[in-house]
């Protein structure tokens, strides 16, 4: 059967330390990454993103489960036998070699002919626009330039899969935005599968074809950015990505009764307490008494492209509404207002 995935990770677990001191860092993780996909692991620091990446690269070996790359089982293979290259978080450019020697390193190890090496090094440096720096040492380069060289070095051997561990986190905001665009273009041009790691949700949404949100060594949700953003399945995912309003409610036969409000026609599999989530831009500000519930307007902030209203619910909790209709004037601060919640924008969350 023809393999359509670049990476197939099945039931991988990993613990560090031995005996009683052992700490489980990954719990039964399974991921499929399609050819030429830009796949991102997103999660807070310490959730196991780097560990999963290192298992794919071969720097760590899984305690259980299997990893296949292009159909080949590499679960126990050393890093130098995997058709994978890594862009390290701190770049890890060899300080004793020049830029072109760094880029040529893998090609020399693969024993390519000399003229072919020269040609490929030239191409790789051209791809990241660093040809003029070929003879420099890494220590002579700025952070952004080192980043480019690290990319060129990892792309030069034309790997099946490129692993990137928070490659942009050391750059300042402006440079980071530029590099995001370049990275995306590069991936499209080179046609290489990317496995990208970040703790920056905006970066993940902007770059990825699919995102896996991780917490405590588990993948909570996996899907295209739009799905992750608009239809989070877990409270953690909803909270981690962008602003969101969370409403506690009670599931009954006819829907969900929101604390201090109406019963909303939302389908829930079994009765009991549930959490509903809705993005601030999907909720609407309406006249008091005409929405699902009433609240007090605490504050309105004009943001240029939208106005952000902060409301206080009867239960005491906060509620955000982002209103992008510029014509509508904001009600008086402290006035009673109503909140309208379109049913299709409501998400029922698991804990």
């Amino acid at each position: 059967m023809a393999e359509t995935n670049t990476v197939t990770i099945r039931g991988v677990s990993k613990a560090f330390g031995r005996g009683d001191a052992a700490v489980r860092v990954l719990h039964d993780v399974s991921v499929d990454i399609a050819r030429q996909e830009f796949f991102t692991l997103l999660g807070p620091s310490g959730c196991g993103k780097t560990t999963l990446l290192r298992l794919v690269a071969g720097f760590e070996i899984a305690d259980s489960g299997s990893i296949r790359i292009e159909g080949q089982d590499v679960t126990h293979a050393p890093p130098f036998r995997r058709p994978v290259n890594t862009v390290f978080q701190n770049y890890a450019l060899f300080p004793h070699l020049t830029v072109e020697q760094n880029v040529a390193f893998s090609l020399e190890e693969q024993r390519l002919p000399r003229d072919q090496i020269r040609q490929r090094v030239g191409e790789a440096l051209e791809m990241v626009r660093m040809q003029t720096y070929a003879r420099r040492r890494p220590s002579d380069l700025s952070g952004g330039q080192q980043q480019r060289v690290a990319l060129a070095r990892a792309l030069a051997p034309r790997p099946k899969l490129l692993l990137l561990d928070e490659p942009l986190s050391a750059l300042d905001l402006k440079l980071r935005k530029e590099m995001q665009i370049e990275l995306k273009q590069l991936q499209a041009e080179a046609g290489i599968t990317f496995l990208f790691v970040t703790h920056d949700q905006e970066e993940a949404l902007a770059l990825s074809d699919r995102v896996a949100v991780m917490q405590g060594g588990r993948i909570l949700q996996m899907g295209p950015p739009r799905e992750i953003y608009e239809a989070p399945t877990h409270r953690f995912v909803a909270d981690f990505i962008g602003d969101i309003n969370l409403l506690d409610g009670e599931a009954t036969g006819g829907g969900v009764r929101v604390a201090g409000g109406q019963t909303l026609p939302v389908q829930v599999s079994r009765p009991g307490p549930v959490t509903l989530a809705i993005r601030p831009e999907r909720a609407r500000l309406v006249a008091a008494g005409t929405g699902v519930m009433d609240a007090t307007l605490v504050h309105s902030a004009y943001l240029g492209t939208a106005t952000l209203h902060k409301l206080q619910l009867a239960s005491g909790g906060d509620f955000l509404i982002r209103q992008s209709d510029p014509v509508q004037a904001a009600p008086e601060k402290g006035s009673r207002v109503g909140i309208a919640l379109p049913t299709d924008a409501l998400q029922v969350l698991q804990e």
């Binding site: 390290f88 890890a92 450019l93 390193f105 190890e109 693969q110």
Partner: protein, 257 residues
């Protein structure tokens, strides 16, 4: 409080520096003195250098010292490098092995020298250059080990992971990445071991056989017949060899950076 503003700091520092280096400068100066008496200055000359150049026993002692220092430092550096690499990762007994490696630094040399002499005689190892190389290697190991260890500890393991990621197997990774990055530490270790061996008197005194005198041992026996400007000249030569080597290793390290 700022130590620089402490009363007399400047004066005390100058005194200590003078106390340390003035005798050495006096020794160097008098090695160029024409007078037979080592402590009375007449006029400058290179007589004593010509004399030591033409003295076969001094030439032999210099040769022995160099062969001894180069052999012992090389052997000690290789052993220290292997030891540093072997103790890189945590394993049961790592602390114990580290302590054993550093032990020669704190053991009284006279005790070790006598013990080595007794051992060599008992086992039947002939005294002379070979015996000295063996003994020097042992006490040079910690001097070679410490800079290599320090360099290794300061080196991120990511470079080696990057090399393996770029298809270099373990041996190629060692050759192309680990060793070049470790090089300044190895050089510093070798230099320290060399200077330590060159300077050693006690161990060499006990283990030198007939005809295998080293420079320090020669100086010691010559000085019992009275301090001559020849000794000033020999000492200056030793100083120059040490300074040259240290400068060379410093320059190489800077170049490699």
């Amino acid at each position: 409080m700022n130590i620089r503003r402490f009363p007399l700091t400047r004066e005390i520092s100058l005194f200590v520096l003078a106390y340390l280096y003035l005798p050495v400068f006096v020794l160097i100066a008098y090695s160029f003195n024409a007078n037979r008496t080592a402590t009375v200055w007449t006029h400058a000359s290179l007589d004593w250098y010509v004399r030591i150049l033409n003295n076969p026993s001094i030439r032999a002692a210099t040769w022995n010292s160099l062969v001894l220092a180069i052999s012992a430092a090389t052997a000690a550096t290789v052993i220290a490098l292997l030891a540093a690499l072997a103790t890189r990762r945590a394993f049961p007994g790592r602390n114990a092995s580290e302590t054993i490696l550093r032990l020669p630094l704190i053991l009284p040399e006279i005790v070790v020298a006598v013990a080595t002499l007794i051992l060599f005689v008992a086992v039947g190892i002939e005294l002379g250059l070979g015996a000295m190389i063996l003994a020097h290697t042992v006490f040079c190991i910690p001097f070679a080990y410490l800079p290599i260890r320090a360099r290794l500890d300061g080196m991120s393991g990511t470079y080696e992971e990057a090399a393996q990621d770029l298809y270099a197997n373990r041996f190629r990774t060692f050759r192309r990445v680990t060793m070049p990055l470790l090089w300044p530490g190895v050089l510093a270790g070798f230099t320290l071991a060399f200077v330590t061996s060159l300077d050693d008197f006690l161990t060499s005194f006990f283990l030198s056989g007939p005809g295998t005198t080293t420079l320090p041992v020669y100086i010691f026996s010559a000085i019992r017949a009275g301090i001559t400007p020849e000794i000033n000249a020999i000492s200056t030569v030793m100083l120059v060899i040490s300074i040259l080597l240290v400068s060379l290793s410093f320059a190489l390290t800077r170049l490699r950076r």
